[in-house]
């Protein structure tokens, strides 16, 4: 293997450094083409998001490759050499494979298990493919990384739990109402968090959004934003009773929904469940309403507790994901090592010899008995022809020694053309 990776991420470098090290998307192809010309670099790709900047290359030898990449990054980022060295991590061979797999599977992300990372890796991979700096080797590695990431998605529930406060509101509503289609939301106030939570809810396909605000103008604007309906602030009780989810997010210091009002709302709703999500501080809904049957009440801290619990679940799933990644790393590396070509070479030679021998025998049979001298000479000639046919094929195969993936592809082609053993491991 000849693989090297350097990089810095949210754990090793602060935003300021990451910003300076990052590559502008438009300049990326050019940077790739420049990097691939550096000493010791054979194939390369660059990964650059707000949380990480990484350079991954297939190299002639790892020390030289790492050196070249670091020099390249130092020049491009104008970060002082000493400072950069402290913040960089360097991986080679199996460690680099593992790192790439972990990044793609979102195990190295700032928000563990966030789903965007795989798409980002794919798009940076495509940029490198288009820039022509990726060959069979990195291609094979990246495909294996995508496979590992997909397995992690499929076999663990690492991405299942919401880890933002506003999506926690959606999750809670789901735990109560199941499917949210057909639900009505009432947004009270025009606070930013309330708007965010409502956006998440809206995305689940709720039936209607209503907005109540002290300022009718603000209510209309917000309602227009959600394709909803503005309702009079004075009729809060009436509209709350007609909604399943009430989000309060005002700057008001008074209680908008107290215990008695909540009871009144429940009576009007015929006791069907309702959720109050109170994002305002100070709170707009009396926390005690949560003791009423079928009333569920959550404030900002409760949403935070959901997020914390979800993160905990993600961490548990991450342990499982690490195992999957480890399996995939092992199987990828094993695949590279297992490409022993000696048996194929022998078999190829025998096969060609065989073909020639069959033809020779046929000739002898047809042409009648020959004297032994002539017979020997013909045999030698045929054997030479067989050798000459096999020679360039084997030379070509040997020339791919440094590139296991290309070699694998080549071996495979040979096997198919000459109908050699089906399985390389047998």
């Amino acid at each position: 293997m000849n693989l090297a990776l350097i990089g810095l991420n949210h754990k090793t470098a602060e935003l300021d450094t990451r910003e300076r090290a990052s590559f502008h998307p438009e300049k990326l192809p050019e940077a790739l083409r420049e990097l691939v010309e550096r000493p010791g670099i054979q194939e390369t790709m660059i990964f650059s998001t707000c949380n990480r900047v990484e350079l991954l290359s297939r190299v002639k030898n790892s020390a030289q490759g790492l050196e070249s990449m670091e020099a390249f990054l130092r020049e491009k980022s104008c970060i002082d050499g000493e400072q950069l060295r402290e913040k960089l991590y360097r991986y080679s061979e199996q460690q680099a494979v593992r790192h790439v797999f972990r990044v793609a599977s979102s195990l190295d992300s700032m928000i563990l298990g966030e789903p965007q990372i795989l798409g980002q890796v794919k798009s940076f991979y495509n940029v490198a493919v288009q820039a022509g700096t990726i060959g069979t080797y990195l291609n094979g590695l990246l495909q294996a990384a995508f496979h590992a990431a997909k397995r992690v998605r499929r076999e663990t529930s690492i991405g299942e739990y919401s880890v933002s406060v506003s999506s926690a509101a959606v999750e809670l509503a789901r735990k109560i109402f199941g499917d949210l289609r057909g639900m009505s939301i009432l947004i009270v106030g025009a606070g930013k968090m309330g708007k965010l939570a409502a956006t998440h809810l809206r995305a689940t396909g709720v039936r209607s959004v209503r907005v109540a605000n002290r300022s009718p103008q603000a209510a209309r604007e917000l309602a227009a934003h959600f394709h909803g309906e503005a309702v009079p602030f004075e009729e809060l009780t009436k509209w709350a009773a007609r909604s399943e989810i009430v989000i309060t997010s005002t700057g008001s210091y008074e209680l908008l929904v107290d215990y008695a009002r909540a009871q009144q709302i429940m009576q009007e709703r015929k006791n069907t469940p309702i959720v109050f999500i109170d994002i305002s501080v100070p709170r707009n809904v009396d926390p005690n309403v949560g003791t009423i049957d079928n009333v569920f009440y959550y404030d900002v801290d409760d949403l935070g507790a959901v997020v914390e619990a979800n993160l905990q679940e993600r961490r548990k799933e991450a342990a499982l994901a690490e195992k999957i990644v480890e399996q995939e790393v092992d199987s990828f590396c094993a695949r590279l090592h297992s490409l022993d070509m000696a048996p194929v070479v022998v078999e190829l030679q025998t096969r060609i010899q065989e073909i020639c021998q069959v033809e020779l025998d046929r000739f002898f049979k047809k042409a009648g008995p020959r004297d032994p001298q002539e017979r020997r000479e013909l045999e030698v000639m045929i054997s030479r022809i067989a050798g000459k046919i096999a020679h360039p094929l084997i030379t070509q195969l040997r020339s791919t020694d440094h590139d296991p993936l290309q070699q694998a592809a080549y071996l495979d082609t040979l096997k198919r053309i000459f109908k050699l053993q089906k399985d390389s491991e047998s």
Partner: protein
């Protein structure tokens, strides 16, 4: 023929195990495989009951082990139906233990050839007992969904987002299963009582004789009637309905087991 039943039990047991693992690890794959196994077990179970019926030339539900075996069959049937309707992954972990336990219990007290009591040699047995057992199975589901509701509601109200919060279905789904199994159970129970009365008229010459089993089943029926009334009038939802479903189930268990002790139904 016994091996078919043992096969069914083995499939149920593995299905239970996988359901528990799937519940604990939250893996759909385990749940799906568990369901497939339970489905196969159910087919084997059905084949066994059919063969037994042909062999005896009678509905195979004339002794205690018979009825435990048939109860397990009814529970599995309602479980499979409920899963396909509501897709509650947690359900297997709560229903299958009882199914497996009933099968084991039935197997331990199994008697190969018992004499069929003359009273049971009637066509009524086919209808009366099968609807009765399906009613019990439906009420068990009502009970389970009520319990699931109460646990999940408690998690949501106490704001403890822990183990069960992540694993139990939403309140809405619990409530729907509760309602559906409640109505189904109630209709089946009503049919049981009516057919029982006609059978009693034939066998004992009276429609109703306040035998303990009759009394108990009337009580159970009454409890569920009250629950249905309040559900329809929308006053009792969620928690209260769940509590009543538990009370109703206790009464149903009593009804089922009372004939083991005394009364006209003692041949169970």
């Amino acid at each position: 023929m016994g091996w078919i039943l043992q096969g069914a039990l083995a499939l149920y047991a593995v299905g239970l195990l996988l359901s528990l693992v799937g519940f604990y690890r939250k893996r759909q794959l385990f749940i799906t495989i568990a369901l497939a196994l339970v489905g196969c077990g159910f087919i084997a179970h059905t084949v066994f009951l059919t063969l037994l019926g042909f062999q005896r030339r009678h509905f195979p539900i004339t002794s205690l082990p018979d009825s435990l075996c048939f109860l397990a069959w009814s529970l599995t049937l309602t479980f499979i139906a409920a899963y396909f309707r509501y897709k509650i992954n947690a359900l297997g972990a709560f229903v299958l233990p009882l199914v497996s336990a009933l099968m084991v219990l039935s197997g331990t007290v199994w008697e190969e050839n018992h004499a069929i009591p003359p009273l049971l040699q009637s066509r009524w047995i086919y209808f009366h007992t099968s609807v009765a057992f399906l009613a019990y199975a439906a009420f068990f589901l009502t009970f389970v969904s009520g319990v699931l509701y109460l646990i999940q509601e408690n998690e949501l109200k106490s704001k403890n987002f822990r183990f069960l919060y992540f694993r139990l279905p939403s309140l809405q789904v619990c409530d729907e299963l509760l309602r559906f199994s409640l109505f189904a159970g109630f209709i089946l129970m009503s049919l049981t009582i009516v057919t029982g009365a006609f059978w009693a008229q034939q066998a004992w010459g009276r429609f109703w004789s306040w035998d303990p089993k009759e009394t108990a089943s009337l009580m159970t029926w009454g409890i569920y009637l009250v629950l249905i009334h309040y559900r329809l009038s929308a006053r009792w939802r969620g928690r209260r309905a769940a509590y009543i479903s538990i009370v109703g189930f206790v009464s149903a268990v009593l009804t089922f087991s009372i004939s083991l002790f005394k009364g006209l139904h003692t041949y169970l």
